[in-house]
Symmetry: C2
Subunit: 206 residues, 2 copies
């Protein structure tokens, strides 16, 4: 569950004991997809590991696709809510963009498994599901793009780089955290977030 | 084949006709892995599509793993050679870093399928192969890190961000080109490279 207000909000805890059935299914599916891949994990393995029946699973999720979709969608929902609250605050635009950038790195780092699994296997999702999650992420990126344009219009940010390209530049760095970030590494997710946000803001200086 | 001197060097052509057997096998494997995934593609499908026998394939590649490895390794070899030539030139360090950054974006964009397939499936590689390609990429990143440190020591780049973190920041953006870059999009790979290099250099201004 998201802990409102904490910086690196984890969407789920490391344990599944006592969790409601849908959360438990998502937790074991994440673990199995991470260990053995999405394609080679069967619905039977998931329900066995969660200790529920197939009937119970299909009550909440229509398919294995739905689980993969939801693993990422719930992280994205938390990130979107936090991003909107930071983007719509009354701070100056450069502070708002810095807060948004630092937060998306910290929340991605705190839920790294979900992001890694999703980006690794999203090409296997049913086209409808893929389109849905892409649209949700586009809405997220779109809000960040408008924030950059707001800063460009007010002269706080350079205007010679398209805001679209800056969004792709920055979110590449975010989505790729999974290849190198370690929870027990030298820097915490929050520290990486502050550093990445500093670099982004510096790259936008007029 | 790499066209020495061209900016967005393609490691291979779009056609397989008349190519030597190893290149032909790599071309059809790339296509099949992209279309139907690495796991679900069989060696039989690859040799059928390439029009060669299994014996011919095993003459060049020990396994399906070797094909996946080589798909990325040959791009990385071209990128490393180009990077080293730019990094070791007599230009000022900020120009050398700009050239390196712009080139790795352009060459990644020109060989996007190979990069996408590799990052999607590298977790399925045999641990030895995975360690090997990781070591090769680490050597690449290591040279770029030293370039950043050179600029930090001479005061051309800011020193308050670790060169390691800057490398992770920038290469995240590079490795993630596959999720949004299109060959028929608004900007060419070379143009995206120039823009990304500009942003990187700006982020490093003292």
């Amino acid at each position: 569950m998201a802990r409102a207000g904490s910086v690196g909000a984890r969407v789920r805890g490391p344990e599944t004991e006592g969790e409601p059935v849908p959360q438990r299914l998502l937790s074991v599916a994440t673990k199995l997809f991470a260990e053995q891949g999405f394609e080679t994990t069967s619905v039977q393995q998931i329900v066995d590991a969660a200790g529920v029946t197939k009937g119970a699973m299909y009550h909440y999720f229509g398919s294995k696709d739905d689980l993969l979709y939801e693993i990422y969608a719930r992280v994205l929902r938390v990130q979107t809510a936090r991003m909107e609250s930071a983007a719509d605050s009354s701070e100056p635009v450069e502070k708002r963009l810095h807060a948004v950038a630092a937060d998306v790195v910290a929340t991605t780092a705190a839920n790294l498994d979900d992001t890694v699994i999703f980006f690794r296997s999203m090409h296997l999702l049913h086209p409808d599901k893929k389109a849905e999650v892409r649209a949700e992420r586009r809405r997220y990126h779109e809000r960040v793009r408008r924030l950059i344009e707001e800063g460009q219009q007010s002269g706080v940010f350079r205007s010679d780089k398209s805001a679209d390209l800056v969004v792709d530049f920055f979110f590449g760095a975010v989505h790729h955290l999974g290849t190198w970030f370690r929870q027990d590494g030298e820097l915490t997710g929050e520290q990486v977030g502050e550093n990445f946000a500093d670099l982004l803001l510096a790259s936008l200086r007029p």
